[in-house]
């Protein structure tokens, strides 16, 4: 295995190498963990590595290979290094949500999506950094320090699934899982040049994911190729009796990857392409991507999402309201941070929640509480749910004319640490991603080259109708024909060869 470069390999390549006995799964696990120990000092994508679980899973794969069976009988992720956003429970690991509140919490059970990857043969490498409780777009709100963007360590990887994005971009894992409530998979995917998929709400079980916005949250994969993302989604999708919102999805997301874009109808929203705040370099790359699809035989059609502006406000009503409700469970009694030395329970609650939650979490909890209070509810929360109806209807109308809608994933490339400090400006970085969570549809960020001004990755967002996620995978695969697979960030690709 000397010279074998797992860091840049995809799922099929690793599995072929295992089957041809070029290397063993234990060697894949050991090399991956060694690389994390060496390279993650610069990136800080990982909050915890899971050596024991990784080796144990790898040994099982090697036993199957030794017995002469084809490893794909185990599942689509057999022998593949995978890591998880730290809001996903994996029994026996810390699940911190990057918060002091859960710093010492040890999962007593495993989330369904995580279990599905392991049952599909994945080698679990560890848990990944994020914005605290997924409240943010930069991973700067992590209580344990930010993750750095492998493309430029002075810049953020995006967020909230910044660790998941950075780990894939730096070649520290083949695929990772993240979660997306308002753009938390797609925006970091865009910032790090990775294939980042937020499936339709209900495709993946949310059981065992620490809840942020229960009607908005959805789990999805990060990968360096469309096929790897599709194979991962195959492994984690489907009905789970433990999540009543999960749906009986049995789509093979790899099925139409080879079909090409010919005959597809790609919707463009002209108002989005002229949106205030959209940088020139992103606009140029996104328009180029649309032209590539046209050249491949797709038809570009204009569509309108007239209520998209209201989606931002609706999201910043609904998100905090649901977060306020979900985060009321942290009571300093059953689990989580407990401020010591209080003689009365009320004082213990108030000090524990004040010191356990970071500033953004406190802000959102208090905002949600206000928005749901008597008299205020009718002014914000109820209209936000009405806006949701309008946005859903917008999408339904648009998808009568097209199979996929194409737009930027983020208005700009990765920003520098501290560059955006006031909360309202930070929220604007989600301007293209939020509508989709409100409607519950699928969307993904697909790398489409580097911006001319910053020389950093740009993501084009492809969106699908509800439970038609295969549409965006097909368009993404057609784009991959043009751009090639997503590379490991240059500084880390250079260090990947040993």
């Amino acid at each position: 295995m000397a010279g074998t470069n797992f860091a840049t390999m995809g799922i099929r390549e690793i599995q072929a190498g295992l089957m041809n006995e070029e290397f063993t799964a234990v060697e894949v696990a050991e090399a991956s963990l060694a690389r994390i120990a060496e390279q993650d000092k610069d990136v800080h994508a990982f909050l915890e590595t899971t050596e024991e679980q990784a080796i144990e899973a790898a040994e099982k794969i090697d036993m199957v290979i030794d017995s002469g069976l084809d490893i794909t009988v185990i599942g689509p992720l057999a022998g593949i290094p995978v890591a998880y956003k730290d809001n996903m429970n994996l029994q026996g690991t810390h699940t911190t949500c990057a918060s002091r509140m859960l710093e010492s919490y040890v999962s007593p059970y495993t989330a369904t999506c995580v279990r599905n990857t392991i049952e599909a043969g994945a080698i679990p490498l560890g848990k990944l950094n994020m914005d605290e409780f997924a409240f943010g777009s930069s991973t700067e709100t992590s209580a344990f320090g930010p993750t750095r963007n492998p493309w430029d360590l002075e810049r953020v990887p995006g967020g909230s699934s910044g660790g998941s994005a950075a780990a894939v971009a730096a070649g520290l894992a083949t695929v990772t899982l993240g979660s997306d409530t308002g753009g938390s998979i797609r925006q970091p995917g865009s910032f790090t040049g990775t294939v980042a998929v937020k499936p339709t709400y209900g495709v993946v079980s949310r059981y065992g994911i620490v809840a942020f916005g229960s009607s908005l949250d959805q789990v999805g994969p990060f990968a360096r190729s469309v096929e790897d993302a599709a194979l991962t989604l195959n492994a984690i999708s489907g009905h789970d009796p433990l999540d009543c919102t999960s749906q009986p999805v049995d789509t093979d997301f790899t099925a139409n990857l080879a079909e090409g874009a010919k005959g597809m109808r790609i919707g463009i929203v002209p108002a989005f392409m002229d949106a205030e705040g959209l940088t020139h370099e992103v606009k140029v790359k996104v328009e180029e991507a649309a032209e590539h699809l046209r050249a491949a035989g797709a038809e570009l059609v204009e569509v309108d999402l007239p209520n998209a502006q209201a989606a931002m406000s609706a999201y910043y009503v609904l998100g905090p309201c649901e977060a306020f409700s979900n985060l009321s469970r942290f009571d300093s009694v059953r689990y989580g941070y407990c401020d010591p030395g209080h003689k009365d329970l009320g004082g213990q609650y108030e000090a524990s929640r004040a010191n356990g939650f970071g500033p953004e979490a406190r802000r959102r909890i208090m905002l949600g509480s206000y928005l749901l209070s008597a008299g205020v509810y009718d002014k914000y929360y109820y209209p936000a749910q009405q806006v949701r109806t309008l946005i859903t209807a917008d999408y339904t109308r648009a998808y009568e004319k097209c199979d996929v809608i194409l737009m930027p994933a983020s208005p700009r490339t990765a920003f520098k640490f501290g560059e955006i400090s006031d909360p309202t400006s930070m929220y604007l970085s989600d301007m293209f991603t939020i509508s989709l969570n409100i409607a519950g549809n699928g969307g993904m960020s697909m790398p489409c080259g580097l911006g001319a001004d910053t020389n950093l990755p740009v993501g084009v967002q492809l969106q699908s109708p509800q439970f038609k996620d295969e549409n965006m995978f097909r368009a993404a695969a057609a784009l991959e024909q043009v751009y090639g697979k997503a590379p490991v960030a240059p500084a880390f690709a250079a260090k990947a060869g040993e």
Binding site: C244, Y335, D344
Partner: protein, 103 residues
């Protein structure tokens, strides 16, 4: 800038959400919340007469029941494993009545 919440309101919200804020934090939180609430203004300006609300992206949700059969759950030990303080087989909390007391 419109004043949506006062410092007095914020103290009330802090008490309700059980998050202690000192006086400086109350001031800052009041500014932050007013900024954010102001940015939500478009939602109050839409003509939404007669529009039904959508409370959930999957419209056809219905309650799900499992078979009424016994299944193992967490043991008491597992359920208590993350408790910051425990005594015997119980969660341990400060007194809620008497000295100090709840308010």
């Amino acid at each position: 800038m419109a004043q949506h919440v006062t410092e007095r309101d914020v103290r009330g919200i802090a008490e309700y959400t059980r998050i202690h804020l000192d006086e400086d934090e109350v001031k800052q939180m009041t500014v932050d919340l007013n900024d954010i609430i102001e940015s939500l203004k478009p939602i109050t300006e839409y003509d939404l007469d007669g529009v039904e609300p959508t409370f959930h992206p999957i419209g056809s949700l219905s309650n799900v029941m499992r078979e009424d059969v016994e299944k193992p759950g967490f043991t008491q030990e597992e359920a208590l494993a993350n408790a910051p303080a425990r005594q015997d087989d119980c969660f341990l909390i400060p007194s809620i009545l008497g000295e100090g007391g709840d308010r």
